[in-house]
Subunit: 343 residues, 4 copies
């Protein structure tokens, strides 16, 4: 089969690879129908994620069809249409039994990281019991593809951890795929204002199309949030960039008693202004998703309450994967949000 | 009457002051029976709390007797023995109605800060309805004095915000009065280990007497916590110092999925290592107490489950207030934890 | 002034009454602009609420203008447009400080019950600080009138207590004003299905107009809920009738691990089938609202996410109050949902 | 091997049975070291649990040693000392992934119910990954035996579901093994009062030895609880009997805003006095345990905070199982609380 292999910084190739084989009886083999490229993949190919060794097939977001099942897999059968979540969960360690699949002692985010991933024709998915979900007949693969990572991340790590509630003013810093996913899924809780703070004008326009009520550049954020909140600050602020200045902005825009939810992948530290925050009764959270909300979100997709397909700006064949990366990495020029590759 | 007046950096005097008068019908006038000195007062007299203007009577921790009540005060009567919490709460702003008295839009921590405090013979207590509690006949003033601030702070901002649970390993960085209060009140939830990290040997010994299961210096903390937690880290870490390195230590010692509760009063920023924490699913909280747990904690005092009186290392007369400050500020030599001044 | 006086079972009259006077400094006097009739009022005039003594002015839902304020009222001023919540809260008893205003030791639901109410030209509102809210200029009195009781009840006691979540299947038994309010406010959480169970065909049609996804008679409820939930039962069931059979239906339709929220006012006991429920891990809640969500719900009204005005089926003058009651009590013929009376 | 077989109402025999075999790769075979008899077993042998068919080996509480492991079991190895929880959890159904192992779609309480149990020399334990725990070397089998059911039940379904908190007044109706387990584990949260209501004088005395602060007969309960709570009622009431009158007593003794936690196994309905409760803002919960708190409780056992071994009133050999049942069923005469049978 073919897969997109990382061969060291700035070296990727869609090339022949051995077909994946079952190793554990909790594995399945999945034939990929749709795969997509994540901002994290961009970090990886710049060499920014040291756990990824050269020779690894990338990718942690895919739908497909079950090709083989390990002996102890009972939740899906050969031939089922499924999605595989970006996180692999053993289901029985202290973290999995607390619902923290992202912290699984032997799993977590390993697909396309410490083991081969899903930007390929086939993939081995470990811990399938707790990590794959059947797709209902009424939904297409495209409708559920982003549940595998960005929607679950925006929802669990942003909206739920931040405790977005009806009537709230929510600020989301960053209108990349994950920030947009937070903006989309925040709407499930009917906040009053969804303010997206984003550098790029095109992304701001797109955020408004996706349901943000306001979209501004960084330098306009303070004034806007003050005017919307009687000067108190936002109920919830969500960091979806991964840079220190973006984090500090979210910490600055939150009201007393509010929540800061960090989603961004950070490569370095940020400054925490405890001299301003120590008494403010704020709650700050970090994390990666468990995917445990995917069945619930699938209901919201089926009712039309959640539709992330407008984020698909480019559709290509799996065989055009290298071109897909190029399009995604030059998002400033191509306008790419999500590039979807199909078998 | 006499009161302890802050006259600018390093200038305090226990001197004649006008008797306090009722201003609002929600005020009471309280005759002080016991008052005590807080670490925050030490910040103030060094000039570290700019909201405190010269001429202010300090102090935000006291018991006493109701001398006069404003027309709309219904919860206490003249002659009642009471404690006054360090936080004054209007009871009806958006923060008070959410239980966040520390964020009260017109109150919060104002006693001995923006208005005259309780290191005096008499004091005006605003918003008495939501800010003073009658002391049951069965309890002495000394038994409840520390509920006014340090116990409520350690409990609400440390133990409850940190979600200490039975069987947990809890780390408390700093064995000053507030850290010790966290160690004491944590015991109400039967954690397995209470590890106090503290520079001073005498304070470490004292922490063990107060119920800590381990007390170590900073450089021993990592190894101890690892050995107690199978290398995972502590379930809850509590910062009770107010310095960046102490904060960073608490952030370093927490396990995936754990809680960091900041209690310390910080004068500057700290470094938040998001490159380590972004995926760890941690929760970080800050705050000041509401005092809303005081009735509950009074129950615990009455059953003997909570006894903070061993923290009283020095007892003096109110008239010896200046000497009390001297004793408290030279804690390294005097061994002072809490200095209590009585009428 | 004139007010609607209960003079014993089945005897009401809109008649001359003394003008209300300030008694406590926490009172206000309010000139009524809009008042409305509640299902509870129907209980009262049948003699079903023994706490209401003959001679009492009824009514606990009104908007109006502040005419006089007690000395300690700071949150509103003479001339302000306000709504008065159905529950009066002292703001400092153990229940008020826990956010349970309905359980206030000296307040709770007293308006139009143990003291004169708001179906009158003027009314005294006790504990105004915690019981009235200013209406923003951008909203009309009609838009916020139902926040005073039915929307707050449906939302707090039904939707929030039942923990309605995105993707859920919610069953509401009873499409009276409170059941419809639950159906309306449940939509703020984007459930997948809102099933209204109701005897009357006209009310079922109306429930669908108000956003229910399904509306059926009792005998169709089981089959529908099973088909919607793979036979598991509803995530949340809400009782909004107040009769034993309706309660038992809600208990029967809930899934394992689900929530039953009772809103209905019951005059007698119901049977709890513990032989079916003991192991099912259900949560059952009861209550009356605090009104603490009113500011939040007002935001939802202002964005258009919440519009209860279609429930106004009849508009009359305050002076036509007796006719208003007649219309409301003969709802089967008149189709009345809410009858609104204006000054 | 030998096992205790239910052969229809009032017919049990400890007799030869085929050795258990692995069936699924998630099974283990366990050699029993200690087993014990539960109140539920008493229901069964009276024919009160229709799911138990004649020919079934009873028992759902045991410690032992792993004899064989299915291919996909990774959490324990042959030779490990373990305890098996009373509930078998697949770990991946919608209930297991919500932490509700008792509601597992293909498991739940099946041991000694729909499949053979652990009152035998050997037993097959299904879904071992999520249902058995290794016993640390520092703890004896006796110290952890009751974690398999009664302690987990009292703690999860009583204390945690009821939200017992420091300073609370807790009422537990019934001082059988589960009621006593609730009384024991409630102490982990430092309540002020633990009132046990129990018919039998010997059990009341024992409850006091186990840490209850008060133990009274039914007819004394109201007066005591009123006197302890200023007439408000208990913060938490726990039903640990399984009869309607006991349930109604718990519902009667709870305060406004309080929690009623039902643990009792009920064979028929109870009356719920909604005419008293509809407005009281109570929360009522039911359930069976997940066992997910067992690791946490094991910590509490290891620190000495939790010691249930005094409940062992009788120790016998496994071969004396029939005599053990006789002793347990005649508890009134024998004083039996828990009868422990060892290999």
């Amino acid at each position: 089969m073919k897969g997109l292999v990382y061969d060291g910084p700035d070296q990727i190739a869609y090339e022949d690879q051995p077909d994946p084989q079952l190793r554990d009886d909790t594995d399945i083999i999945m034939r990929i129908s749709l795969s997509t490229i994540c901002g994290t993949d961009a970090h990886i190919i710049k060499g920014g994620v040291p756990t990824v060794r050269p020779g690894t097939i990338l990718g942690h977001e895919a739908t497909g069809v079950v090709e083989e099942v390990g002996a102890s897999v009972k939740n899906v059968e050969v031939g089922d249409r499924i999605l595989a979540t970006c996180v692999s969960a053993c289901g029985y360690c202290r973290f999995c039994t607390s619902g923290m699949y992202g912290q699984c002692l032997t799993g977590g985010w390993i697909l396309g990281n410490t083991i081969n991933g899903v930007q390929a024709e086939y993939a081995r998915i470990p811990y399938a019991r707790n990590s794959v979900y059947a797709i209902p007949d009424s939904l297409t693969d495209e409708q559920v593809l982003f549940l595998t990572d960005i929607l679950a991340t925006g929802y669990e790590v942003g909206v739920l951890a931040g405790k977005v509630s009806p009537g709230d003013t929510v600020v989301i810093v960053g209108a990349g795929p994950v920030g947009l996913s937070a903006a989309l899924t925040a709407q499930l809780f009917s906040p009053r204002n969804i303010v997206v703070v984003e550098r790029t004008a095109a992304r701001r326009r797109f955020a408004l199309e996706m349901g943000a009520t306001h979209a501004v550049a960084e330098d306009e954020a303070h004034e806007l949030v003050e005017s919307l909140t009687d000067g108190l600050g936002a109920d919830v602020t969500i960091e979806a960039v991964g840079f220190p200045d973006a984090f500090e902005l979210t910490a600055d825009l939150v009201r007393s008693g509010g929540h800061i939810a960090n989603i961004g992948v950070h490569e370095g530290p940020a400054t925490l202004h405890l001299e301003k925050l120590w008494a403010k009764q704020i709650t700050l959270t970090t994390g990666i998703p468990s995917g445990l909300t995917i069945p619930q979100l699938m209901h919201s997709v089926s009712t039309g309450a959640l539709d992330a397909t407008p984020m698909i700006t480019h559709r290509m064949a799996l065989s055009e994967m290298e071109s897909g990366y190029d399009t995604f990495l030059r998002a400033g020029e191509t306008g790419a949000v999500k590039v979807v590759l199909s078998a």
